[in-house]
Symmetry: C2
Subunit: 153 residues, 2 copies
């Protein structure tokens, strides 16, 4: 599986929309919900979480709505997913959380964590502006080697 949640899908959809419409002022939840056939209340929560994570800026009131908090190139897909679904972990346990019945006898932690790092790297290497560019074959960021960044909180 490894499927990402629908909320994360909605978040990415919205982020891409905002990235593709720069200088358009605030876009409301309702507009986005209608545009993509997403239940408005649900999308609202998703957008709120993105605001709390610092990825979006909100503007209340009658002409309110949302806009990107940074440039689209400075927001990665990993940022968006983590804002919605929390820190992305492949295994039940992590460096700080050992809550797993098999922890003591587990022998596959390290290689699995290594795989996780590679997955995070793939998500971190793709920015929201890459989504907006919509070139399926495009290497994110051109010929930039993938930084093997270990996300630790």
């Amino acid at each position: 599986m490894l499927r990402l949640s629908k909320k994360a899908d909605y978040a990415l959809l919205a982020m891409r929309h905002l990235a593709a419409q720069p200088d358009r002022g605030a876009v409301s939840t309702r507009e986005l919900a209608e545009r993509y056939d997403i239940p408005a209340e649900l999308l609202a929560k998703v957008l709120q979480r993105l605001v709390r994570a610092g990825l979006l800026e909100s503007h209340q009131g009658i002409r309110g709505g949302y806009g990107l908090a940074r440039t689209a190139g400075a927001i990665s897909v990993a940022d968006v997913i983590q804002a919605i679904d929390g820190p992305l972990t492949v295994t039940a346990c992590s460096e700080d959380d050992h809550s797993c019945d098999q922890y003591a006898k587990c022998n596959i932690r390290d290689p699995l964590w290594h795989i996780k790092d590679r997955i995070v790297a793939a998500l971190a290497a793709t920015s929201v502006s890459d989504l907006a560019a919509d070139l399926s074959t495009a290497a994110p960021g051109g010929a930039v080697p993938v930084p093997l960044m270990t996300a630790r909180k």
Copy 2:
């Protein structure tokens, strides 16, 4: 999240165990279950799926059990996960399955599929023998002798 299921965890644990104990004949469900504190009936199902996927060979009867169907190096982590959790997809839709409310209006499919390919590549590049080698920094494919019980740092 992107967390893999507990069944997949159990499967990888068992596969690694079998890879680290070559030429030991069949290993029974009960032995594996006790070794790793896994409910036996559940593990049994997991192992059965691995057999059906062609990753394990089973041997019924009083001295029966399971053994790798191929060499550990020829079985990837992706193989194991797919055998348990089905084809691994990041998005609800895929090339052949368009069942997703947003399909028509979706604009992030291609970049997301590209990310999926990279994730699959990361999983496919790590073999069960790499798990057994247990060197977190090891490049997949390295010729490393198999330690029986690796003391962890």
